[in-house]
């Protein structure tokens, strides 16, 4: 996979208040279109009070699905590099407003849909999205802006902003904040 392209135009939609139970402070919402997959994508950068953002994206037509982060659309040809580059552009937008902001991602396990029913679930640890995201980050960042932390067990990635003092302490604070908000994973609405 090559990650040298410019991606697509990421359109800022709005800054919205928290409408969910996980109590982020606010969310920046973006949108873009892939001319290859012919789909619109929604990107959410949810900002939390420990000065970090959880970056999420999904296909707009799946907006109302509780499994929108788990569904895999097998588009041919794939446009995953451009999609991940464009999604990552939201980080540049957030960094202009919050220069010390760190970023976190959880690679959702894929749900295998069979006869319209979800029956099989990919393992949480080291899942396929985690492997792709890890590869993408290694093609986009060189360690100068962010220090990378990986958790293979729950397939999560943390990019701690190097402008913070005490990077390991910052990582610990973010993880502590995370465990207070979500005590279990997968979340009940994913099951």
């Amino acid at each position: 996979l090559k990650f040298n392209s410019q991606g697509y135009d990421l359109k800022f939609i709005q800054k919205d208040r928290c409408r969910q139970s996980d109590e982020h402070l606010f969310v920046y919402i973006f949108k873009f279109n892939s001319p290859v997959t012919k789909l619109n994508y929604i990107v959410r950068a949810e900002y939390y009070d420990e000065d970090y953002c959880a970056v999420k994206f999904y296909i707009q037509q799946q907006s109302k699905s509780e499994k929108k982060y788990n569904i895999l659309i097998n588009n041919t040809p794939s446009d995953i590099a451009n999609i991940l580059i464009t999604t990552s552009k939201c980080m540049l937008y957030v960094l202009k407003l919050h220069p010390l902001c760190s970023f976190g991602f959880i690679a959702s396990p894929t749900y295998e849909i069979k006869f319209g029913k979800r029956v099989l679930v990919e393992n949480v640890n080291n899942n396929q999205r985690f492997k792709v995201y890890k590869h993408a980050i290694s093609r986009l960042f060189d360690g100068r802006k962010f220090t990378e932390y990986y958790n293979t067990f729950i397939s999560s990635i943390l990019l701690v902003n190097n402008k913070n003092e005490g990077l390991d302490e910052k990582r610990r604070l973010i993880e502590a904040d995370f465990s207070r908000r979500w005590r279990v994973y997968p979340l009940p609405d994913m099951l």
Partner: protein
């Protein structure tokens, strides 16, 4: 000539031994479970042809 019985190709989930949804047990997110590992700084030096957009 005897006709071979039709073999149904297993789904991707079956091939990769994924878990049935009903058997998924949520993981309790303790600080130990959540603890991430810092990447080896030497790995950054191995990276080449990075996207200039994010540098």
């Amino acid at each position: 000539m005897e006709k071979k019985p039709e073999m149904k190709r297993p789904t991707k989930g079956e091939r990769l031994n994924w878990t049935p949804l009903s058997k998924v047990t949520p993981i309790t997110l303790t600080p130990t479970v959540l603890q991430s590992e810092k990447i080896d700084p030497e790995k950054y030096k191995e990276r080449k042809n990075l996207n200039p957009l994010f540098l």
